[in-house]
């Protein structure tokens, strides 16, 4: 089993008198792709801000690689856990793309050369070379999103948190972001992604955390979570389309009842083509 990267124990948090997070216990392992789901106001964003060290838990502890994070280690936490905000505009503060990406590394007090190198790497990773001297207010939504991801990449965190990365993007840009998320996973990053898109969570994540009313009500594999009707009802989720189709194929006896669960439309299509070949062979 992979080493654990971030552990949260008995975390409580409230705004004023309203309890927003209640007794959260999670252990995130290195290299995992975790989708975080739940209806609006379930506490996902507050949870993320706690993980990132912006908010401080009222009760409970956060451990980074087994080391408990105290008040003095917040900077360390912010360095190693990066947070890409949902609205790129609320993150971007500089007047050019390059300056913007340099903000995080500059705060980490690295040498100028190291900052330049990290900015260069982030720019080429996110394919922003052509835009690097442009001001953010003349960029499109998709471009701004890429800048806001590059912002965080330049800080080279081990755990990346994305708050609804595909929200308000057109399908092409949403696909781009998904490709970037895949690439980040291949490069060994640990990813925590808040999303409302059940189809995306089903095909992308290894693990899903479900929040409802400030509580973590389920923690399991996508196949497991999307078979638990009570949980889905409480968290305002529904079954992913590919899973519905797959279950129908199974119920009709067209595919074997085994542990295979195709997650993309292409995979399901291939299986269906396979059924046809088999049937023709039989007749």
């Amino acid at each position: 089993m992979e080493r654990s990267l971030l552990t949260v124990k008995n975390l409580y948090f409230s705004y004023d008198d309203k309890a927003v997070l209640k007794d959260i216990n999670v252990n995130i392992r290195r290299g995992e792709r975790v989708a975080v789901m739940g209806s609006n106001g379930a506490g996902k964003s507050t949870f993320f801000l706690n993980l990132n060290g912006v908010l401080h838990p009222e009760q409970g502890q956060i451990y980074l690689e087994g080391k408990q994070i105290g008040k003095k280690d917040l900077k360390e936490l912010r360095k190693r856990v990066g947070f890409v905000f949902q609205d790129a505009d609320s993150q971007i503060i500089a007047a050019t793309v390059k300056a913007e990406i340099s903000f995080g590394p500059m705060n980490m007090e690295l040498g100028r050369e190291e900052v330049e190198k990290r900015v260069r790497d982030a720019v080429s990773y996110m394919d922003l070379d052509k835009l690097k001297d442009r001001p953010p207010h003349y960029l499109s939504g998709g471009e701004k999103k890429r800048v806001s991801i590059a912002d965080i990449l330049a800080m080279e965190p081990e755990l990346l948190i994305f708050d609804e990365p595909m929200a308000a993007l057109d399908p092409v840009n949403a696909d781009n972001v998904e490709r970037i998320l895949n690439r980040l996973h291949d490069d060994g990053k640990t990813l925590l992604i808040a999303t409302h898109d059940v189809d995306f969570a089903y095909r992308y994540a290894d693990r899903i955390l479900v929040f409802s009313d400030g509580e973590l009500i389920a923690d399991g594999t996508p196949v497991d979570i999307f078979h638990r009707e009570k949980i889905m009802e409480r968290a305002h989720l529904k079954q992913p389309e590919m899973l519905v189709i797959w279950e129908a194929l199974r119920a009709a006896g067209l595919v074997a009842f085994d542990s295979r669960y195709p997650v993309t439309s292409n995979q399901v299509a291939k299986e269906i083509a396979h059924i046809k070949v088999k049937k023709e062979g039989e007749s």
Binding site: I93, E100, M108, P135, Y138, M155
Partner: protein
């Protein structure tokens, strides 16, 4: 706002910002100090060619922005040229029954001189504004060691003013779509609503922005990587020639 857009598209955007600020400010001081019509005329021509010819700022836009100070300068020009008198003095005068409006040759000359000086100063400043994005000017101020608080505020305001305008525009469009600006009275009420809401949204967003700053390790100072644009030898040469011509013109006219 619009000036900023053209500044990014200018062909002289790639000149060193400090150099342009120095050129504009130096000119402004010299135009005032030397106080010669020939100098003013030369400056207007020089910067007109620089902004329109080299920088390729559209002439329509340039003239449009020139009309703003022009209105002020024409008004003040008239105020300088026209004098009130009890009797018909001066080369030209109009009787207004109680008193006379008089123009003398020297007062008209003085008005023209002041007017040209004003235009000269404006064309120098517009060369800077039409070719240097705000953030580069802020960088120059940073190098001049202006207070950090002042500089950081300026750069944040510069960034957020675009977001503010964006949100305001969206709200206004939404109000228009619901007939919010149909009558004069209605417009007033809608406008008040938009402004009030804008304030509340700003407060709410300020929190989100602060969280975003913290999450990237903000601890009290805002710093970015700034690129220095190179000053080329021919630019220094040109600049030296230009200032020499200014002094020479002044010397000839003395």
């Amino acid at each position: 706002m619009q000036i900023d857009y053209y500044a990014y598209r200018s062909n002289i955007n790639n000149w060193n910002a400090g150099f342009k600020v120095l050129l504009a400010m130096g000119t402004l001081c010299l135009v005032i100090a030397l106080d010669k019509t020939a100098v003013s005329l030369f400056v207007i021509m020089f910067f007109g060619i620089l902004t329109l010819g080299v920088g390729k700022t559209p002439a329509r836009i340039y003239l449009h922005f020139m009309t703003v100070p022009l209105a002020f300068m024409i008004c003040s020009g008239i105020a300088i040229a026209v004098q009130f008198a009890g009797s018909p003095v001066g080369e030209w005068n109009i009787s207004l029954h109680f008193f006379y409006l008089c123009l003398t040759r020297s007062s008209v000359a003085l008005a023209a001189k002041v007017f040209l000086k004003g235009i000269a100063g404006m064309s120098a400043l517009y060369m800077m504004a039409f070719s240097t994005p705000m953030h580069e000017i802020i960088d120059v101020m940073r190098k001049l060691h202006l207070p950090r608080l002042f500089i950081e505020l300026m750069s944040l305001i510069y960034r957020y003013i675009f977001i503010l305008f964006d949100v305001a525009e969206k709200m206004q469009t939404a109000a228009k779509a619901r007939l919010g600006y149909q009558s004069f009275r209605q417009s007033f009420r809608t406008f008040a609503g938009v402004v009030g809401n804008l304030f509340l949204i700003s407060l709410k967003k300020a929190n989100a922005y602060y969280d975003a700053l913290l999450s990237r390790g903000y601890d009290g100072k805002i710093e970015f990587l700034a690129d220095e644009k190179q000053i080329r030898p021919w630019q220094i040469g040109g600049c030296a020639c230009y200032f020499t011509i200014l002094i020479f013109l002044w010397y000839v006219c003395k």
